[in-house]
């Protein structure tokens, strides 16, 4: 493992141990190594990420100091396979780490450079020569940014805006993507889509320095995740060579399905960190703020809401861990577990962050306190990663259509 991943022997030892399996029994205990790592990540989140989050938001970019520390911890290579010098961690370990980091600030975590969501695609098909240049570039010490455009679901209106035509052994790409994170500074783009012949396809393109394979469309982003490099990418007759086609047909469909599943779990895990931050902040604030002669926590309108926030946060935590362990074990219903984990993560993070603003009253609404930012970030996160009702309806359709739906998962 190269020096660039981690200077710390200790972290490497932890990473190695994180892959060990143990026997099953209902348990909510992270392994000692997971806990050790989470401690490191949490310290980083609290001491470095949180205090700089506003500046990052104002500068629309993650601060270099944060990036350096994240590189040291190896955040960019958690999902990469070992022979990529990656850490190839189980999803359950990654979920806990991202949860711990996002407790610092979600927008910053979303803006950390590297392969972003495309890391999961790489994890699933690391041998492909399509990745050669990217892999080589990473050996310079830092992984270049990749924007992941998921236009696979044809029913989404924005999927229509990307036209992918077959052209010999390659494709021609036209149109504009929906806003994606890491888009603004992306050197590579991964596209998961359906071509004009209705065939699934996964493409992997590089924009060489000075190249014009795509252009970044300036946007007016104000809602949230403002340090995440949000941007739309525009393609004008961009030619895709055969050696830039990662997968086609059934192979592409499988790759996309599995990739989306991993991405959903990781994104939902980040939402848990955000919720934990908002819950803790609101608890602390209401424990000190006085009104009508006592601390407001002593009013049940306040304390019961805090209790509900605590319950929702724990629920999403569990659903994410459940989905992550299912993915790791290759369970048949891992896809469904990921759909519902992300659905609940969106629904509950909107509730918890909104409630946190409410608990701070007028102070919640102004930017001297972080809660208004978290509420915006949560909303942007939900917008970026799927409409809640779409996710849950998709899971529901499986329940109603498959005779097994109701019983599965209950009796193992």
């Amino acid at each position: 493992m190269g020096e660039r991943i981690s200077d710390s022997i200790e972290l490497m030892v932890i990473y190695t141990k994180l892959k060990k399996e143990e026997c099953p029994l209902i348990s909510f205990s992270p392994t000692e190594d997971e806990s050790a790592f989470v401690d490191v990540a949490q310290g980083f989140a609290k001491d470095v990420i949180r205090p700089m989050a506003r500046d990052c938001e104002n500068n629309r970019a993650v601060d270099a100091e944060i990036i350096a520390k994240a590189e040291e911890i190896g955040v960019a290579s958690l999902e990469f396979p070992e022979h990529w010098d990656g850490l190839e961690l189980p999803l359950i370990s990654q979920a806990q780490m991202f949860q711990a980091l996002s407790y610092g600030d979600l927008a910053v975590v979303q803006g950390l450079p590297g392969a972003g969501d495309a890391a999961s695609i790489i994890r699933l098909d690391p041998e492909s020569p399509v990745f050669d240049a990217y892999k080589k570039a990473g050996q310079r010490g830092v992984w270049p940014n990749v924007a992941f455009i998921d236009a696979f679901n044809k029913e989404e209106p924005w999927a229509e805006e990307m036209q992918i035509n077959k052209n010999g052994n390659g494709y021609t790409l036209n149109g504009v993507s929906h806003p994606v994170r890491l888009g603004a500074e992306a050197e590579y783009v991964a596209v998961a889509a359906v071509d004009t012949d209705d065939e699934p396809v996964v493409l992997w393109l590089q924009n060489p320095p000075g190249g014009e394979r795509w252009s970044v469309k300036a946007g007016d982003y104000r809602l949230g995740l403002l340090s995440a490099g949000l941007a739309k990418l525009q393609f004008d007759d961009a030619g895709i060579q055969a050696d830039e086609v990662l997968a086609q047909g059934d192979e592409a469909r499988e790759l996309i399905t599995q990739g989306q599943t991993r991405i959903r779990v990781l994104q939902a895990a980040k939402a848990v960190g955000l919720m934990e931050a908002a819950l803790e902040y609101a608890t602390e604030y209401t424990a000190e703020r006085k009104a009508f002669g006592k601390v407001i926590a002593q009013f049940q309108g306040v304390s019961f809401k805090i209790a509900k926030m605590a319950i929702e946060t724990r629920i999403v935590n569990h659903l994410v861990w459940d989905a992550a362990t299912k993915v790791d074990a290759g369970k048949k219903d891992a896809v469904e577990a990921s759909l519902r984990a992300l659905y609940r993560a969106h629904r509950s993070s909107l509730f918890v962050t909104d409630a946190a603003v409410q608990m701070l009253g007028g102070h919640g609404f102004v930017d001297e306190f972080p809660v208004e930012k978290w509420a915006r970030d949560a909303q942007a996160q939900a917008g970026l990663y799927g409409r809640g009702h779409d996710l849950i309806t998709r899971r529901g359709e499986r329940i109603v259509n498959e005779a097994t739906g109701a019983k599965r998962g209950v009796l193992q």
């Binding site: 099953p24 209790a307 629920i315 659903l319 998962g409 193992q412």
Partner: protein, 406 residues
């Protein structure tokens, strides 16, 4: 390691109880509801089969287990087994499940606070040929959620105590061989004055004055108990006199603490029952939708969304419940998790049965188990501490690190 897989033994417990619930409980559920009682011959039969509702034998209580040396002794699994089994039983029918012979909610206080002699004397009776029950009597007309308001008096006399008072809403209270009764030696002492007694059936002055008629959970007995100059010997003071003397300072665990500690192990059990009820309603409704709904269109989408939400809510409650039980098993403080799972599961189960009834429409009114489950489930958001009380406990624990009491 984080794992939501069941061990081989856990799976077996789950499958066995499910088999029992499906083949023995379900078939009598609707009839028992109509009769407002569980048939005696059925009780005899299941007693002979050795099926009990002994929450205490599941490991009872979130107390310390001294295996901090890890791995040396095998990890306790009783609480996890308990929630797995009761979910299945309640899936069959919660009212019948609660009527199963056994120490029931009386078990945990005896298990956690009784002397070795008391444990032997009171818990061994459940292995006998005849079905036997235990019960737990805290609630009074003027003291429900506010358990510190108990008025039943315990006057110290030669050789023991004399109890006077009234207890209401006592599950299996009429048929119980013994009841753990909470009383006070001096109401002005508040919590510190409370004591827990084991009052045996047949004690002079101890009687069941009335059985309640209820919205649901009808097959299960809910009794009003009277204590009129009831003499209770020292041997029946739970934990013995020393427990209370040692602790006569302000930090003492009193009878009140005995009552509260019990909740840490019973609330996850009650939450698991709520999960089982919600699952029963959900599975029934999925079957109907699969058989009778058009495969596309507005109603299909509505059903898909409603059922997926329900399924998620059920699993969310189960995971919270498992966490509380797991904490108890590994000897971690679990009061917050016990309150969280109970708060969430009780409300969730009500909401899920409501959604299922809505999907079923008028069809759900006639002879279908979901309407019964709706009537049954409401009390799960009330007994063992109301929804509001669970939020209070959760909030209290949440604010504990900040040094304020809410």
């Amino acid at each position: 390691m984080i794992s939501f897989e069941l061990s081989q033994q856990q799976k077996q417990i789950q499958q066995m109880t499910h088999w029992f619930a499906k083949n023995e409980i379900r078939p009598i559920a609707m009839e028992a509801d109509r009769l407002e009682r569980v048939p005696d011959d059925w009780l005899d039969k299941v007693n002979k089969m050795g099926v009990h509702l002994n929450t205490s034998s599941f490991g009872g209580g979130g107390g310390k287990n001294k295996s901090s040396k890890k791995k040396e002794s095998k990890e306790k699994e009783g609480n996890r087994m308990g929630v797995l089994a009761t979910e299945e039983m309640a899936w069959g029918c919660p009212a019948v499940a609660l009527s199963l012979p056994g120490a029931g909610l009386g078990g945990p206080p005896v298990q956690s606070s009784g002397t070795p002699e008391q444990k032997e004397r009171f818990l061994s009776i459940f292995t006998k040929d005849e079905p036997r029950w235990g019960a737990y009597a805290l609630t009074e007309p003027e003291a429900g959620s506010d358990a510190s308001g108990v008025r039943t008096s315990a006057e110290k006399v030669d050789g023991g105590y004399v109890l006077n008072g009234q207890k209401i809403f006592i599950t299996n209270g009429g048929r119980a061989s013994w009841v753990v009764v909470f009383a006070t030696v001096d109401p002005s002492l508040g919590r510190a004055g409370q004591r827990a007694f084991v009052v045996e059936k047949g004690t002079p002055g101890f009687s069941c004055s009335r059985l309640a008629h209820k919205m649901g959970l009808r097959a299960n007995e809910t009794a009003e108990l009277l204590l009129e100059d009831c003499f209770i010997p020292y041997e029946n003071l739970l934990g013995g006199e020393e427990l209370y003397e040692q602790n006569s300072n302000s930090t003492s665990p009193s009878g009140f603490q005995v009552a509260m500690k019990t909740f840490d192990s019973t609330r996850p059990i009650v939450a698991a029952m709520a999960v089982g009820i919600a699952r029963a309603a959900y599975e029934y409704t999925v079957d109907i939708v699969q058989k009778e709904y058009p495969k596309q269109g507005r109603y299909f989408s509505l059903a898909a969304q409603t059922l997926a939400e329900a399924e998620q809510d059920i699993d969310a409650a189960r995971l919270l419940t498992w966490e509380a039980a797991w904490k108890a098993d590994v000897g971690k403080e679990n009061a917050k998790e016990a309150a969280m799972c109970k708060a969430y599961a009780g409300q969730m189960a009500h909401d899920v049965t409501v959604k299922c009834l809505e999907l079923l429409g008028p069809v759900g009114l006639d002879g279908h188990i979901v309407e019964k489950l709706f009537r049954d489930v409401k009390v799960f958001d009330i007994f063992e501490g109301t929804n509001e009380v669970q939020h209070l406990v959760t909030a209290r624990r949440q604010y504990q690190p900040y040094g304020i009491r809410v």
